[in-house]
Point group: none
Chain length 287, copies 4
């Protein structure tokens, strides 16, 4: 039976690792703040002392950290992932990073004989808990196939692209659309409010139309009541918008709508809403 | 049995009037270019010679024209709607107009003893054909109730707001969100294309996520193959964006995302895509 | 000796009429709030009881009011300008209005045998006081020539364009550039401030370079000390941005920079800075 | 008498070093392509064989290379600047680099006991020849004072900021304002053109007003005749806009106007105008 590792036990990582445990997989976990591992230990996980130990002990190690800097540090720090890699080890980074970081990590892993799959996820807390994430995988095809059973437990669908970096790129394209849609939604709610149209009426009308979607349905009522508990923290969405805009800059694609949306997220982050849900951009739009 | 009138037999009006006829309603129709009425005459409609004649002959007259100027002209021109209004006549304007125009028309109708309901629709060609429109009604409550059976034949849902102008305002809020979503979508597809991600892959990934919606599902594959046959003409979406931005201006709501989207639609319109579907904004984004 | 009229004694009108009086012209004045005329009466002006009376009494009447609605009302109201127009009367509207309003007023004046010149000014309080305005004239060439001596007293330079509306258009083009430059300037100051660069240092460096200009030199130090006393009220700049954007919309010119600037002015106006100087947009940019 | 070094004898460096020689300073020069040094040798300069030799021989060494990568290479390559640094040596980098590169080079120099001043210049070929550059200096205060006589020979004005990186930051703030002003200018010219206002008339009116500035005066007539010969290449302006926007992102300052401007430069660069003057953004605005 294969042995799995899981590095990074935040909101997302905890839910994902729990699903692996529920499904009967053997999992060793590690987190920088080690206390966050406790609930998983209670569920049967083994505690790793360092990323290197987890990787060395596991056939396939998953990692879910918050940004490119954390992903890079996780890999290259002392007793980090790289220190545990040996021939044949599989490393599946499900964090959202920029394509350059994915390529840098991938080359380092491969340089030590390991196998690398980038696999950023689409979906936040609820889909993570429900095993309904979508994985955007790119890199080692054989590792993709071997990791299949675990990906199926944690997600509802996986996509595979051949070039390392394409998973990150696809993720950023999707999140850029999502971020712009959120500011479009927020502007509509804000304008409706200024016009005296009840926010619930706007939501009711939206629910009948061609642009109805789970995000509006889930977040709309929460936004209307001022509930911005984080499913996907605003600062992470803003980071994804920045990375997507830099891809557009590099590849010569003007992105006017996304740039406007990004500025709204920057304003919201600077107003202290970075750790709230990204729907809190509404507060920056109405202020 | 009530007698109905229908003024304005364009893409939308033809489908709506046809549904009234299918349902067995008695309908008199009129269009500026009278030949467009022929298919409806073949289905049993009677031909009106002027808006005034249609209004005078009908208990409730619906009007569906393309913009505020047309709606105003339809009402105030010689042998226009107003010339046919007498006490108790019902006039339901399902065109999308700005709130000021709705109020101006409403007051004129009421000034001659008529009853006025603004009832802009959400939905384009396909929902119009399927009797699945959404009506955003505001004004005379009794007329709203009396027009109910006809609205139910043409639509799947109706909303009622007390103040004339609120129907138009709600419509513009919804369409503003829709227009911004379309440019967000287009920017995502354009960026993906520049990155070498197949457009169909982007659509597949979107279809799995929290922002999946009928508009993306319906229009995405058409856009990917360059099919921009008009369901909702781009020039009309651009007009709605302009009107929504003016409401924001008037009511003090900055609308950065919508303003960026509007400029994309202006560019597309100026490039000659005004009569194509509003999804043709993709061509302005990628050019 | 020619007799002159002056309608609209606000910040600008007062300074302009005072210059006419100083130069020895005979002037009859009128203002909606009649008390504002007192200082000019003290300087030798005669008090008109209505716009109609002023126009009837004068060979050439100047008008300076705050927006298109005021210009239209001034012309068409009872005892308004039009009621005083007879054959040969000259009416020079130096207000900033949209081209449509200029054309509407012009046609009405001409319809009664009068002569019309639109002549919006470039320049605000200080140039008005110094007789250093720039007039952007369009319409009746003979009236332009006859009004020359008065224009030379109030301004330093006049331009003539043949088509009524072109003066307004040119004014709006210039003010659109000015408004966008102000938000560009404000963003630079705001970013410098966030970086810890003293605002006075940014101004010193700007003063040495190729983009140095009187507006930065005059307003920069005031902005740095938070002095936003109105030379050109923000709400008027925002109105001009809106009108310029509508011209772009109508003529198919996307205006991304100006649209972003306009939203900043809308935000500032909505924050209560509408009656401060338009440089107060800095407060909206930094908030 | 102090001994000076000068590294990088391109268009700018040649003019600057020549001014030092004209003023009687003792200068050793070096350039990657050594032949470019000949005219300076003829003027009395001594030829250095490597950056290390120049730095070792000089009290204060100036460097003027084309971008951050070249500046970094000049410093860290074998026989590069760092190999010549010993206690007390002064190194003044007048190249335009990003703040991070300035800090990296500065720390390396200081780590070997040297003194570092970043001093990016405002001004291009003509001001360099005329000794009319502006230096934006940051870092070692004593070195700034000692380099004063040389800076006064090469420039008309110097500014000093304490923190390394602030020179680069100031340069980017100024260029961001300049870039946004250029798109504001371009939008005005484009709108005027769509309205039928001659571009030369728009320039004439601008020349009378409060926003008149050397950039509009110099570039306006060239833009009107379609002359986009590069004084400051568009791709460099776009890079500066990107770097400025990233500073805003990092420090929480939304920059809506600059983001819109940046997208116009991206579009222009992608249309093949990257090596033309940055005023060629006009072509992206009008297309």
């Amino acid at each position: 039976m294969k042995k799995y590792g899981f590095l990074g036990i935040g909101i997302m990582g905890k839910a994902m690792a729990a699903n692996l445990l529920h499904a009967g997989f053997e999992v060793m976990v590690w987190n920088r703040n080690i206390e966050r591992c406790s609930p998983l230990i209670d569920m049967g996980a083994r505690q790793g002392k360092s990323p290197a130990e987890v990787v060395a002990d596991s056939d396939i190690t998953f990692a879910m950290v918050s940004d490119p800097a954390a992903a890079e540090s996780l890999c290259f720090a002392q007793n980090g992932v790289l220190d545990g890699v040996s021939a044949g080890k599989g490393y599946v980074d499900v964090s959202t990073v920029d394509p350059e970081t994915a390529m840098k990590i991938g080359r380092a892993i491969q340089g030590k004989g390991g196998r690398y799959l980038e696999a950023p996820v689409s979906g936040s807390k609820k889909p993570a808990e429900d095993g309904a994430l979508v994985f955007l995988c790119a890199g080692d095809r054989a590792l993709y196939d071997e990791a299949g059973p675990a990906l199926q437990v944690m997600g509802k669908k996986s996509f595979y692209f051949p070039e390392i970096g394409q998973g990150a790129q696809m993720k950023l394209v999707i999140n850029m659309i999502m971020g712009s849609m959120m500011t479009a939604f927020g502007e509509g709610l804000a304008l409706g409010d200024k016009l005296g149209l009840p926010m619930t009426s706007v939501l009711d009308v939206l629910a009948q139309g061609a642009i109805n979607n789970p995000m509006f349905q889930l977040k709309g009522p929460l936004m209307a009541e001022g509930n911005f508990n984080p499913a996907f923290p605003l600062k992470h969405m803003q980071k994804d918008m920045r990375l997507a805009l830099l891809m557009g800059d590099q590849h010569g694609q003007p992105l006017h709508t996304a740039a406007a949306a990004n500025n709204a997220f920057i304003k919201a982050r600077n107003s202290g809403f970075g750790d709230e849900d990204f729907s809190a951009v509404l507060k920056a739009i109405t202020s």
